[in-house]
């Protein structure tokens, strides 16, 4: 039993997610990611249960572990009660702890998610907020979203909202007091640490890749733009 495996084991989701795999493939059969990506949840569980540190390290540095869409269809069917999606979460956590997530194109995207969803949580109290769903980077939202984006208070308030105001209601202002509590929760529970780690490792990687790294913001930061848009095209079957 290797050291890496032991570290992985500290995450209770590994214990919950992997008892013993008989390699029946029922998870891969139903997995949406397996259909479209070079991805096979069965082999991931099989690899982890070998406890082979070399193979696990390879996984932690690979594109592979970032393909899962967390739909949990695997959990519904596994005859041994495993959940590959939970094993994936444990692997992703360790990959970020070690800083190895920057070695894969998909792993590097963690910075993009941290700068968008991650900062929204602490700044606004929402994971997603209309002022951050900018049509230029969300063309898929269509012309109706462009209209909503340009007239957010009117549209929201037409529909019973309380846009950016205090008190209850849709897209209300989350008060400073609540935001401070969230901040404090992040501090004591390791959330802030993870954000910092994602930034630091990304900065290092940006330097290595010779891409300018501003350190905050989104479309103003070349490294953010790079990880947000880069796709080698080598990810599907």
């Amino acid at each position: 039993m290797g050291k890496l495996y032991d570290e992985l084991r500290k995450d209770f989701r590994l214990e919950e997610g992997l008892k013993a795999c008989m390699n029946c493939g029922i998870c891969t059969a139903i997995c949406p990611a397996a259909e479209f990506y070079h991805y096979d949840p069965r082999t991931i569980c099989d690899t982890v249960q070998t406890h082979d540190d070399e193979k696990i390290e390879e996984l932690l540095k690979s594109e592979t572990i970032w393909y899962c869409g967390q739909c949990m269809s695997c959990k519904t069917r596994c005859p041994r009660g495993n959940t590959p999606a939970m094993v994936i979460m444990a692997l992703r956590r360790l990959s970020q702890e070690k800083g190895w997530f920057t070695q894969s194109e998909k792993g590097r995207q963690q910075l993009a998610i941290k700068r968008t969803v991650g900062e929204n949580i602490l700044r606004l109290g929402y994971c997603v907020h209309p002022e951050t769903v900018i049509p230029e980077v969300h063309p898929e939202q269509g012309p109706v979203w462009e209209w909503i984006f340009s007239h957010t208070p009117e549209v929201i308030n037409r529909l019973g909202g309380n846009y950016k105001k205090d008190g209850p209601g849709i897209l209300r202002n989350i008060t400073e007091e609540s935001l401070l509590e969230l901040e404090a929760i992040f501090q004591v529970s390791g959330g802030t640490n993870l954000y910092r780690r994602i930034e630091n490792h990304s900065r290092r990687k940006a330097k290595e890749m010779n891409i300018s790294f501003i350190g905050k913001g989104t479309s103003n930061d070349p490294y953010f733009v790079h990880v947000y848009t880069e796709n080698s095209g080598n990810h599907s079957r």
Binding site: A29, A34, D40, T43, G81
Partner: protein, 361 residues
């Protein structure tokens, strides 16, 4: 001496019949009970037996012939209402009002097939053209042709292993032992009747444990062109044409696959029968982790239970083939005989000339 002893056998399937045959050979009196009108149990439902396609009816007939003895009293269409124990006898109260006093009890209440409707994702009972292996066997038995629900010859048939077995999700984590060889057998039987069809077996492991099994598996591939795919089928859905769309992973090539099929045969596993559960409850018998009746541990004592005077044989103990069942039944009969104080002839004094010595000289 033996004629004064009465054994009640609950369940007249192959195990019960075989125990009755052996005991009656040794002049013990046997009362053989069954809830059905006929003896034979599940043997009445099979057409041809693996691995050599021998006729189930012929076997059944041969077994019946051996039961044509005055010692055997067959009581059909009864169940057991109550069992009580005194210091002398075991009193068995039957549903037809009879009371039988036994010196020993033999439980051979057998199994039932897993209810495939419990695995909702396969669509059994909801979609057409999803049948169980038991239903296919009945079709063979009644010499009906294999057709889809709209009367056509199926071009493609998929046999899906491990339905209700090796599966935490439905509560049966054990292997039902005989479904793999049954799938091989039925795949060949389908091919014999529909030589133009494509036949697939979706398996996890090929459990070819018995004599001739591995050879039959090879024949299925070489002679009958049956395709074996190592991957557990995850779900079946019906499409507009009435075809079934199944999803599995071909684990040997590591690729997910989706396939349309005309007919799907679910290889259903074995569970303790209702009769077996009733006996467990009535007699407070120990259970195996699969819910079957636990015989006393150890290879030397496989037919006794935790209840003195109560013996058990056959598939009520766990998934078994016919071959296993008959062997187990004979062993159980011997156990009962020992329990009943079977008279054993005195050993003769060995004389010097006749003595066989194992010393090295």
């Amino acid at each position: 001496m033996n004629q004064s002893k009465q054994v009640v056998i609950i369940g007249a399937g192959p195990a019960g019949m075989e125990v009755a045959a052996v005991l009656s050979d040794h002049r013990y009196r046997v009362t053989l009970l069954d809830k059905e009108l006929q003896m034979g149990g599940k043997l009445n439902q099979w057409a041809h037996l693996f691995p050599d396609f021998s006729d189930a009816d012929e076997l059944r007939h041969a077994m019946l012939q051996r039961l044509n003895k005055p010692e055997i009293h067959f009581v059909p269409q009864v169940t057991v209402e109550q069992i009580s124990f005194s210091s002398e006898k075991i009193r068995v109260q039957l549903s037809d009002g009879q009371l039988v006093n036994a010196d020993a009890l033999m439980v051979t209440t057998g199994f039932q097939v897993f209810n495939a409707a419990r695995k909702e994702e396969y669509g059994y009972g909801l979609y057409q053209n999803v049948i169980t292996s038991a239903e296919l066997e009945t079709l063979f038995r009644e010499s009906r042709t294999i057709r889809t629900s709209n009367g056509r010859k199926p071009g493609r048939i998929a046999l899906v292993h491990c339905i209700g077995s090796r599966d935490e999700k439905c509560g049966n984590t054990y292997c039902s032992r005989v479904c793999c060889i049954t799938a091989v057998k039925q795949a060949i039987e389908i091919k014999k009747r529909l030589p133009q069809s494509e036949v697939f077996c979706f398996y996890i492991d090929m459990r070819m444990f018995g004599h001739g099994f591995e050879e039959l598996y090879r024949e299925a591939q070489e002679k009958w062109n049956i395709t074996f795919i190592r991957g557990r089928v995850s779900e079946a859905a019906r499409n507009q044409d009435g075809l079934l769309q199944i999803k599995a992973e071909d684990t040997l090539t590591g690729r997910p696959l989706k396939m349309n099929t005309d007919l799907m045969v679910l290889m259903v596993g074995m569970e303790p029968s209702d009769g077996t559960r009733q006996m467990q409850w009535m007699l407070n018998l120990k259970q195996t982790f699969g819910g079957f009746i636990q015989s006393e541990t150890g290879l030397l004592n496989g037919n006794a239970t935790n209840h003195a005077g109560v013996f058990v044989a056959g598939s009520c103990k766990g998934p078994m083939s016919l071959s296993d069942t008959l062997t187990d039944a004979r062993s159980a009969a011997l156990e009962v005989m020992k329990y009943l104080g079977h008279s054993i002839p005195e050993r003769q004094q060995a004389s010097a000339e006749n003595e066989i010595s194992f010393d090295n000289r």
